[in-house]
């Protein structure tokens, strides 16, 4: 019951955060130098003063700022209407829902891969701090932090698509491939491997290093000594008693990284021409397509918030102390 209430509270709070995101983004875009009507007019090939006036009216740009803001937020909250893209000539919601799945696939696959492999490496190297895996973790940690993700992407692209053509160069699936569901899953999977590896490399570095450190600390703790004094096997001591404890800082960090993962996805999508929100974002920013930019900012904040909520739930399952603190 209390957990249910706590989660409900989190949801409410997430909603408040989202409205704040909307307000900030809307204000920022509308207070930026330059006339939005101008940009719209340019998108349709220039216009005279009359047409400009019409555009202002159509898009509600002639109304006071606060009215525009209120209408926008009302639209988002009550009818999930993010406006209309003059650049793509489509409702923003349609545009985003077309691209969102690709980004979600990339972001969540990369996060999960980085977490799983990072924890495995971290646990193993904590048990053997002088072993080869431990040096590998140190190496990955340094490389993953220092290498710009788009550069890593290009290097992998050169190596495994161009020099050794193991993986496709770009896109999310091959339209020429025909077949049932399973074939299409493989089709997307083949395209997914390099982008996911690229994106995961940064976070794998963070998680494996933190997991090693926290595992080493936990292995020296009193309760691990108690577990040993009970006569439990090495396996039970490490994988049951130590692992669950050493996971909570790693999961906490993973939760804080969601915004960074989405940022990284923008760059990775650009490198691999992955048809997701990142690619759309870059195009609409260059075109100054305000409604689309606003919509993307809103949705990527939503992805981060949902990621945080998931982290919070996982953390509660791992560590009962989190639940009682809140």
């Amino acid at each position: 019951m209390t957990i249910f209430l706590a989660i409900l509270q989190r949801f409410f709070y997430a909603g408040v955060l989202l409205v704040a995101v909307l307000v900030l983004n809307f204000s920022m875009l509308h207070l930026a130098p330059g006339d939005i009507a101008d940009t719209i007019a340019q998108a349709s090939g220039g216009a005279d003063a009359d047409v400009m006036e019409q555009i202002r009216k159509d898009y509600g740009l002639d109304q006071p700022f606060l009215v525009q803001l209120g209408k926008y937020i009302g639209g988002v909250l009550f009818s999930f209407d993010l406006g209309y893209s003059f650049f793509y000539n489509q409702p923003v919601t349609t545009l985003i829902f077309e691209k969102l799945p690709a980004t979600l696939l990339l972001v969540f696959t990369a996060q999960i891969l980085a977490l799983v492999v990072g924890v495995l490496l971290g646990v193993y190297s904590a048990r053997n701090p002088k072993g080869i895996v431990s040096y590998l973790v140190t190496f990955i940690a340094l490389f993953g932090y220092a290498a710009p993700v788009f550069w890593t992407g290009i290097l992998l692209l050169i190596a495994f698509s161009l020099k050794i053509p193991l993986f496709p160069v770009a896109g999310m699936y091959d339209v020429t491939v025909e077949g049932g569901f399973f074939v299409q899953v493989l089709n997307v999977g083949r395209h997914l491997i390099l982008p996911v590896l690229t994106l995961a490399s940064i976070f794998l570095a963070l998680y494996s290093r933190l997991c090693r450190a926290s595992m080493m600390e936990v292995l020296g703790s009193d309760y691990v000594r108690t577990a040993k004094a009970k006569g439990l096997s090495e396996r039970e001591v490490v994988l049951k008693h130590a692992l669950k404890n050493s996971m909570s800082p790693v999961v906490t960090l993973a939760g804080l990284q969601f915004s960074a993962v989405v940022s990284g996805a923008v760059l990775v999508e650009t490198v691999y021409s992955w048809p997701g929100l990142g690619t759309l974002a870059l195009q609409s920013i260059i075109a100054r397509d305000t409604p689309t930019i606003l919509g993307i900012l809103f949705f990527s904040a939503l992805v981060v918030i949902v990621g945080n909520l998931l982290t919070d739930i996982v953390l509660r399952m791992i560590d009962p102390r989190v639940a009682s603190k809140a």
């Binding site: 703790s221 009193d222 309760y223 000594r225 108690t226 577990a227 040993k228 004094a229 009970k230 006569g231 439990l232 096997s233 008693h241 669950k244 404890n245 909570s248 791992i318 560590d319 009962p320 102390r321 009682s324």
Partner: protein, 328 residues
């Protein structure tokens, strides 16, 4: 009769930054079934190391048993395999630690932490282990055990956590319970309760107890025999009452005079409280051929500073490693 536990010439070495130091140097002792033996001495005298050495839990790659035997029921634990030690730990010999606040795993319920050891050693089903866990909570006098069994450690007080530790340690009715400073971290009122509990349960299960403490009061109440440790060496051992009555080592004498009520009842004129001045020597000097207490002893002479004193025997198996044991 063969003693339950017989340690002969045990030497435990720790690898430190300055080289190898013997934290336990030539220790011998015997513990009979159901007996309570107490280890006394200041921190850093190697009491805990002895306990960890018996359990095979010396810090990995840092501590090791260099020589000597630890005979338990005719089996040398110093030579036993890891697998064999794991069978013994928690089943035949268990241990409770100084820090109840951190000794329980924060992410598992206490029921699970008790049930686990029963499943491991008694081959109980999960269900049976949990119902036994509830009984054990009752036995360690935790009220409302049926509800508390699902609690997490952070929902309990320090005293309650130590009771849970005792429940875990006694779950398999071990032959030996090692209690390493079990009450040091607790409130004074709770301390007495924990000692009562240990004594009562120990009697019920016929468990022999090794009580490690620096609290001479607790020793007087709990133990039949005591060993006074100093700087990794045995300073004195023998029956508790006899030692308190007439210590044969200046260090023991100092320790006893730190505790007022051991010396006199309330109505008597009280002697002044004394402290044992100085500090335990650093690990570096632990192996030296001298009396390590000499630097703090007012009787020390050249012999004390140049030769390690042998053990001198007195009546009722009281021994003292002091050159001046006869006239202390």
């Amino acid at each position: 009769m063969m003693p339950l536990l017989k340690i002969d010439n045990l030497r435990i070495e720790l690898t430190t930054r300055d080289g190898i130091a013997p934290v336990i140097d030539d220790l011998s002792l015997e513990l009979g079934a159901g007996e309570t033996l107490s280890f006394v001495g200041e921190s850093g005298c190697g009491k805990s190391m002895t306990a960890l050495g018996i359990m095979g839990l010396l810090p990995e790659k840092v501590g090791r048993i260099a020589s000597g035997t630890v005979m338990f029921n005719g089996e040398d634990l110093a030579q036993a395999s890891d697998a064999r030690l794991r069978e013994i730990r928690g089943n035949d010999i268990s241990m409770i630690f100084q820090e109840p606040m951190t000794s329980l795993n924060p992410v598992f319920t206490i029921g699970e932490q008790i049930a686990e050891v029963l499943r491991r050693h008694q081959n109980l089903s999960n269900r049976a282990a949990w119902s036994k866990a509830t009984e054990l909570l009752d036995a360690v006098r935790i009220p409302n055990p049926k509800a508390r069994v699902n609690d997490y450690p952070h929902q309990m007080s320090g005293g309650q956590r130590q009771r849970v530790m005792i429940a875990i340690a006694l779950a398999c009715e071990p032959k030996i319970l090692i209690a390493d400073e079990p009450t040091t971290a607790l409130d004074v009122t709770v301390q007495a309760q924990i000692f009562d509990l240990l004594r009562d349960l120990g009697k019920q299960t016929g468990t022999a107890t090794i009580l490690i403490t620096h609290d001479m009061g607790a020793v007087a109440e709990m133990a039949e025999r005591m060993i006074v440790m100093y700087a990794g060496r045995k300073a004195e051992d023998g029956p508790v009452e006899q030692i308190i009555d007439h210590p044969r080592h200046p260090y023991t004498k100092g320790l006893i005079s730190c505790v007022p009520h051991l010396m006199a009842s309330l109505s008597d004129d009280r002697p002044e409280l004394v402290e044992v001045s100085g500090i335990v020597p650093s690990l570096k000097s632990f192996g030296r051929d001298e009396c390590l207490f000499a630097s703090r002893c007012d009787r020390a002479d050249d012999k004390c500073r140049s030769q390690r004193p042998p053990e001198m025997g007195f009546a009722n198996n009281q021994n003292s490693a002091c050159w001046h044991a006869g006239d202390v």
